[in-house]
C-alpha cells in the first residue's frame, strides 16, 4: 500500500512540472510588457525599468525564469501580487471560503444525487423515475448562471430565505444558496449515473444469489446493490470535488463569494501574471492531491483494485 502511494506521488511529479510549465509559458506569451504596463500612461524611467526587470528576473531567458519560479515554489514562495501582497496570503484568505463552498456543494449533490438516483434505479419506469429524469435533464440543459440568477431571485429576493450575496467573512448560512446552485448540475449527473449503475447492478447474478440466501431487500439494496453501484459515481464525485475546490468562477462571481475562482478571475482581468500563475499552480497541486486520495478511496470500495497493483 505504501509502495502504491509512493508510486502515485512519483507519477504526480511530471504532471505537476508539465502543467506549471505550460501555464508559465502561456502567461509569458501574453502580449504586452508587464513592467511597462505597471507605469500606465507615464513614460517609464529606463533605469527603473532595468532594475525592475532584474528584480523579477525578466532579463533572463524564459527557461531560467521558469526554473527560478519553480525554485521559489519549493521554498513556499509564490511571489507577490501587483498590490504587493504575497500570493500565499491571498490564497490563505480565499481558499478556505472556496473549500467551505465546495464541501457544502459536494455534500448536497452526493446525498441528494445518490438518494434520488437509487430510488429511480430501483423503480425504473415508474413515476418517480420519470420525473427525476425530467428534472435532471432540465438542470443539465440550463447554463449555471441561469440557475444562479433564478435561485438568487426566487430565494433571495422573492421568498427572502437567503441573502442574495455573500456577506463579509462568508458565513456558512450565506453559502447555502450558492452551494445549492453549484451542486445542481452535478446533482443531475449523479442522479443519472447512480440510476444507470443501480439498474445494471440489480440485474447481476450475485444480487439474485443474495436474495436466494434468504436476505431481505433492506439488506440486499444497501449491501449488495448500492455499494457496487457507487464505484462509477465516486469517479465522478472525485473529479467534481477537484473542480469545485479550485473555484467556481461564475457562481462565485454572481453571489460575490470572496473565493479562489472570483479572485483568479479578477487577476486575469487585471493581467496580474504572477498571481494567475501562482493560483493555477496551487490549483494543480490541489487537483493532484485530491486525485491521489480518490484512487486510494477506490481501494476501500473495491477490493479487486486494492490487491492488484
Amino acid at each position: 500500500m505504501t509502495g502504491y502511494i509512493f508510486r502515485r506521488i512519483l507519477q504526480a511529479i511530471p504532471v505537476f512540472m508539465g502543467t506549471t510549465f505550460l501555464i508559465y509559458f502561456m502567461v509569458f506569451a501574453m502580449p504586452g510588457d508587464p513592467i511597462v504596463a505597471l507605469f500606465g500612461d507615464k513614460t517609464p524611467n529606463p533605469a527603473v525599468v532595468a532594475q525592475l526587470r532584474a528584480q523579477y528576473h525578466l532579463d533572463q531567458p524564459f527557461i531560467v525564469q521558469y526554473l527560478i519560479y519553480l525554485g521559489g515554489i519549493f521554498r513556499g514562495d509564490f511571489g507577490l501580487s501587483f498590490s504587493g501582497e504575497p500570493v500565499t496570503a491571498i490564497l490563505a484568505r480565499t481558499f478556505p471560503v472556496t473549500a467551505r463552498l465546495a464541501i457544502l456543494a459536494l455534500l448536497f449533490e452526493t446525498f441528494f444525487g445518490i438518494l434520488v438516483g437509487l430510488i429511480s434505479g430501483l423503480r425504473k419506469g415508474k413515476l418517480f423515475d420519470a420525473s427525476s429524469l425530467a428534472v435532471s435533464l432540465v438542470l443539465i440543459s440550463l447554463p449555471i448562471f441561469v440557475i444562479a440568477f433564478v435561485g438568487q431571485y426566487v430565494f433571495g429576493v422573492w421568498l427572502g430565505w437567503a441573502r442574495t450575496t455573500v456577506g463579509s467573512g462568508a458565513p456558512l448560512q450565506d453559502l447555502i444558496l450558492p452551494a445549492l446552485v453549484l451542486a445542481s448540475v452535478s446533482f443531475a449527473q449523479i442522479v443519472r449515473l447512480t440510476r444507470a449503475s443501480v439498474i445494471e447492478t440489480s440485474g447481476l447474478d450475485f444480487v439474485r444469489t443474495a436474495y436466494s440466501k434468504g436476505l431481505s431487500s433492506r439488506r440486499v439494496i444497501p449491501v449488495h446493490i448500492l455499494r457496487n453501484s457507487l464505484i462509477p459515481v465516486v469517479t465522478y464525485l472525485a473529479t467534481d470535488f477537484g473542480v469545485l475546490l479550485v473555484g467556481a468562477t461564475i457562481t462565485e462571481g454572481i453571489f460575490n463569494v470572496p473565493g479562489v475562482g472570483n479572485t483568479l478571475y479578477q487577476a486575469i482581468i487585471r493581467g496580474e501574471g504572477p498571481t494567475v500563475v501562482s493560483f493555477v499552480t496551487v490549483m494543480v497541486l490541489i487537483y493532484l492531491v485530491v486525485n491521489i486520495l480518490v484512487d486510494l478511496f477506490y481501494g476501500l470500495l473495491d477490493p479487486r483494485i486494492r490487491y492488484v497493483k
Partner: protein, 581 residues
Amino acid sequence: MSVPLSTSAAVKPLLEIKNLQVGFQTQNGLVPAVNGIDITLMPGQTLAIVGESGSGKSTTAHAIINLLPGSGRITGGEVLFEGRDLTQLNEKQLEEVRGRMIGFVPQDPMANLNPVWSIGFQVEEAIRANGIATGKEVKQHAIRVLKEAGLADADKRLRQFPHQFSGGMRQRVLIGMGLSSRPKLLIADEPTSALDVTVQRVILDHLATLTREIGTAVLFITHDLGLAAERAEQLVVMYKGKVVESGPSREILENPMHPYTQRLVAAAPSLASRRIQSSQKNLTDLGYSAPRAAEGLDLVEAAAARAGKQAATPVAGGPAIKVDGLTKVYRIRGAKRDARDFKAVDDVSFTVERGTTMALVGESGSGKSTVAKLLLRLEDASEGTITIGGRDTATLRGRALLDLRRTMQPVFQDPYGSLDPLRNIGNTIAEPLQVHRVGDRASRRARVDELLDQVALPSALATRYPNELSGGQRQRVAIARALALKPEIVILDEAVSALDVLVQAQILRLLADLQAELGLTYLFITHDLAVVRVIADHVCVMQRGKIVESSTVDKVFDNPQQDYTRELLNAIPGANLKLGV
C-alpha cells in the same frame, strides 16, 4: 404430459409443481417461457431437469423460489413445497423459505459472488439471515460449512475476496452457502458447467455425498443428458417450456420415447463416446438406439464413418503442421516485485498430417490456447519452430505473414463475441476477402453466397445482423468467415464448447462434412474429451504446458497411458453409466 415419478403413497412429496406457467412481459405482450409443467420431487431424492438453452429449465428453477429475472412472472399453476403453495406467499414469507428451506446453487461461480465483499462476509450474512447461529458462532458455522463444501483451509481464507479464488473454489463457496442452513431442498442450476471436467466431477461427487448426509433433496438443472443421468435418479426432459418426458434416468436413457429425447441421447457427446466404447466390437450393433427420427445427427455413426474413411485415405504430401520443441515463456511480475518466468507452453512437439484432425485437449491453464496463438503468429514463440506447409513461420514478415494467415484461419469459442454486431453477415464473411484483396465486389458477393451454402445457411442471411441469429447460426457464420480465403488449415479453439448439445452435434457434423469436401486440416482445441472422440483422428493431451500423451483417438480412449488422461476420461459425465447396449 405428466408421469408420476413416485407412487409411494406413504411419503408425501417435498416439492410438487403443478401446471406451472411462467411468462415474460415484452413489448409484444406476454411471452410464455414455461407452459404448464408438472414435476414431483420426493424428500431426499435427486431429480434432474434436462433441456437446451431456452427450454425453460432455469426459469422453472427461478420460479420455484420466485426470483425470476426482469419482467418474468408466474402466470398460473402451483408450486407446492411441503404442501404450501410458494406462489401465494408474500415477500416476507418467501425470505423465510429461501435459504433456510430451499438452498440455491447458481450457474456461474464467477458472477455469483459479490466482488466487493469477502467470502466470509457473504457466507456469514446467509447464516445470520436464516437465524442458524448468532454472535461468535456465526463465524464457526461459516468455517464449518465451507470445510464441508471442500475448502480445507476455510479458516485462513475467510477474509479473502472472490477474485482471489479459482472458479472451482468459488463454486465450493456457493455450495457451502446454499447448504449452510441445512435446507430440505437444494436447487442446483448448472452448478458446474463453467468448470473444467475434472473439477466438475470432484465437486459433483462432493455435492452428492454432502446432500446424502444432510438428507437434502436436489433439483439438478443441466443441459448435459449424460451428466443428468449420472447424477440423478429421476429425469425430466424439457423442451420449449414443456415437459416432454420424465421418469427414472435409466429408463429414459435406455428407451427414450419422445423424439426430442431421442435426439438428445444421440447428440450428447458424453454418451456418444460411451456408446462407441461399449460397442467397439461390433459397430453395426449401433443400430439399437440410433433413433430414426434423429437421422443425420447421430454422433456414433459420424465417428464410425470417420474411422472408416481415415483408414481408407492415405496421407498425401508432407505434414500440414509440424511443431517442434515449442516453448512460450511469460514474465510474471510477482507480488513482491520479483519477476519470475511462467512457462505456458513447455517443449511441445506434434505433427498434423494433411486432411486430418488433431485434437489438443487439456484443462484451463494447460497452455492449449497459447499453442493456438503461437501457431497463428498472434504471439511469438520463445523457443522452438513451427513449420506450416514446409515453411518455418518464425521469420515471416509483412506480405509473407499475410499469406500464412490466408492458409490458416481460426474459429473461436464465443459465437457472441467473435462477430462484430455492427456488421451484417455478408460483410462479416466478405471481410477477409477485402483484406486480402480477393476478387471484386460481384465475385465477393458470389463467394459469400457459396460460403453460406457450404455452412447450410440461407443466402438471405447475408443482410441480417448477428443479434438476429442464434448461437449455432453465429458459429456457422464464423466458420464461413474462416473458410472465405479457402484455407488449408482451420484452428478451432473451443469452437463448439459454448453450444447446446444438439447444435454442437450439427456443427461437428458440418465440420466433418467440410473436411471431407475441402480436404481441410483441423487443429481442434478443447477441454472436452467427449467431443474429441467424434471429431478427431489424433489427440495430444496437455497438462501444465506439456504434452503428456499423444496418440490416435482410439488408443487414447481404449488404452490411456497416463493417469492424467485416465482422470480426464473418467471425468466425462456418463462415463460410468450402464447403457443398454
